[in-house]
């Protein structure tokens, strides 16, 4: 019947369409993983999620100082797994001027009877201040090793950018102490 007409049509290639769709599926699988670095970049650029900035010490010398502003910085500490840690800031608050480099420290003690590697993660609130809170040095940049019962004071140096929003007069820096995940 219509076979003559049908034969004139070029056979459509199902493989090509299926291949393209499969490629799209694989690309989207990759995109799922790409969201991880994207998420971190967006958080760092915008200061969302309390991610703080990091600057080199030499940049601070040239930075202007806002003499007329005073900001209260509060330090808090928490431990992810209870029991085996003592973790606290050595000073609970500091009054700082934007543009000047300050030093603070936290005290940590391993209360367990085994050597442990730990990692601290920082968070700054309010989020709108996070991107102006820059650290030149921080114990949170690296993992810390503790002997059984060992303790140490861990330093951190920070400077608040003078562009910090005018309505912010109090910033809370919070650290959570984690046992590093790659130990049994």
């Amino acid at each position: 019947m219509s076979q003559g007409v049908e034969a004139a049509r070029k056979p459509p290639s199902h493989g090509r369409v299926a291949g393209k769709m499969l490629l799209l599926a694989c690309a989207m699988f990759g995109f799922g993983y790409l969201m991880v670095p994207l998420y971190n970049i967006i958080c760092e650029v915008t200061g969302l999620n309390g991610k703080t900035g990091r600057v080199s010490a030499s940049a601070i010398v040239a930075a202007p100082v806002a003499e007329d502003r005073e900001i209260i910085v509060e330090f808090t500490a928490s431990v992810n797994q209870s029991g085996s840690w003592e973790f606290r800031p050595n000073a609970k608050t500091m009054i700082v001027k934007p543009g000047i480099l300050y030093h603070a420290s936290y005290h940590a003690k391993n209360l367990s009877s085994s050597a442990v590697v730990a990692q601290a993660t920082p968070s700054v609130t309010p989020f709108s201040a996070a991107r102006y809170f820059n650290k030149t040095e921080c114990f949170c940049f690296t993992r810390q090793s503790f002997e059984p019962g060992g303790s140490m004071d861990m330093p951190l140096s920070f400077v608040i950018d003078e562009d910090i929003p005018i309505n912010v007069d109090r910033v809370t820096l919070s650290y959570t102490f984690f046992r590093s995940p790659d130990q049994s």
Binding site: P12, A25, M35, D182
Partner: protein, 541 residues
Amino acid sequence: MSSTDVTHHAPEEHGHDHDHGEHGPAKGLMRWVTTTNHKDIGTLYLWFSLIMFFIGGAMALIIRAELFQPGIQIVDPMFFNSMTTMHAIVMIFGVVMPAFVGLANWMIPMMIGAPDMALPRLNNWSFWIMPFAFTIMLSTLFMDSGGPAGGWTLYPPLVLQMGDSFAFVIFAIHFLGISSVMGSINIVATIFNMRPPGMTFMKMPMFVWTWLITAYLLIATIPVFAGAVTMLLTDRFFGTSFFSAAGGGDPVMFQHIFWFFGHPEVYILILPAFGIVSSIIPTFARKPLFGYDSMVYATASIAFLSFIVWAHHMFTTGMPLAGELFFMFSTMMISVPTGVKVFNWVATMWRGSMSFETPMLFAIGFVIMFTIGGLSGLMLAITPADIQYHDTYFVVAHFHYVLVPGAIYSLMAATYYWLPKWTGNMYDEKLGKLHFWISTVFVNVLFFPMHFVGLAGMPRRIPDYSLQFADWNMIATIGAFGFGFSQLMFVYIIVKCIRGGEKATAEVWEGARGLEWTVDSPAPYHTFETAPTIQPATITR
């Protein structure tokens, strides 16, 4: 014959060299295992989802029985949590999605005049992966550590504390994902390549259009979900720290990745329903679908918008104001194309010669009750209000209104609508109408009170609750048992229709248009082996 040759069974497979148009199905059980026929595979999908509907429904009844009164009466809280988790997974991945794929298999080739799906062997695989995946999934309930109990959203860190079932659940999800993606690739290839001359894109039935867009959504989002659960798997077993703050990861990031999949997923669960309703209402209003073009564009707009609204599930995670505003307004924007659809359905019925057979009753029930669910969705989209509603029974009421009298009603409407075409017999109209009215009464008794307890502050996913919520919970449970058991009627009507009944004509419904109504009832094992000629009378618009 080139376009049809591609899809024919290889001769050695069935032992038929001749008479392609004449041969029927193979005999015995192996017919169903080895079949590459789109109608067989559609039937398998539909039976599978009907069975899963009762498994998921039984879980819902366990939940409702426990919530009949305050206190812990029937099940222990851990099992209760695994019931809420499994109920969701079964209903989403085991009922609504396979049922829509089943309908796509049965109807898309017949609607566009193609002899079969483009990739019949892949089609067989897509189906047969599912029973195995669900056997693995459901088997976790019998493990010592119990089934998954952290909610279907699988949020870390809770989900990482799950027992032995964790790896099994992730494995099953991977397989379900593979099945969905293969099924979608097949649907896209079929719609692109197998339309006969004259069946242009803008002449395709709405069900085909909605499925084409749904297939794209599936292909684009299921792999993201697969990635997210793979990250969970490596976090738990291989020392990565995607979602573990201890290693520099962030559990909130999981929510972003999950809902980037999860929000398009909710449209995957409803777009084919829009297509079904857009097929049924014109038939029983005896008028062509009002605003066909706008329906197509509305569907595409909803699909596009679904990718930029995900964080409205996360308003309470501490988003910045700009993010809250963006996701609030983009979410509200979805009500515009959805409103276009609802108005078009109403306009199709306007001054039509309407009759109210069972499929039409379910379709109208869909339009009304889906709109109720849509409106509560709009309330949830308002960020400041959502902070009050978040994780309360109001959310449960919202998504059950769009999924039960929404997606499930569309599936029942579709079943009644096409059952005479599948079986060759008319179903029992009186029982069908009774099924509709009993279901509709009970579904509202079941879900409407959840709005009240939700607004009053009852949290979701808890086995026990404060006394002030007791009355409405008792009423909801009565509705649940009424709705659940009335679905046995649905099975009875289907079985009765398969076994016999008044013979159906080819057209079945007086106002039915479209190619599927030009073939005999029951539809022969092979249809449209030669491409049909597209005439104005046989296209749906």
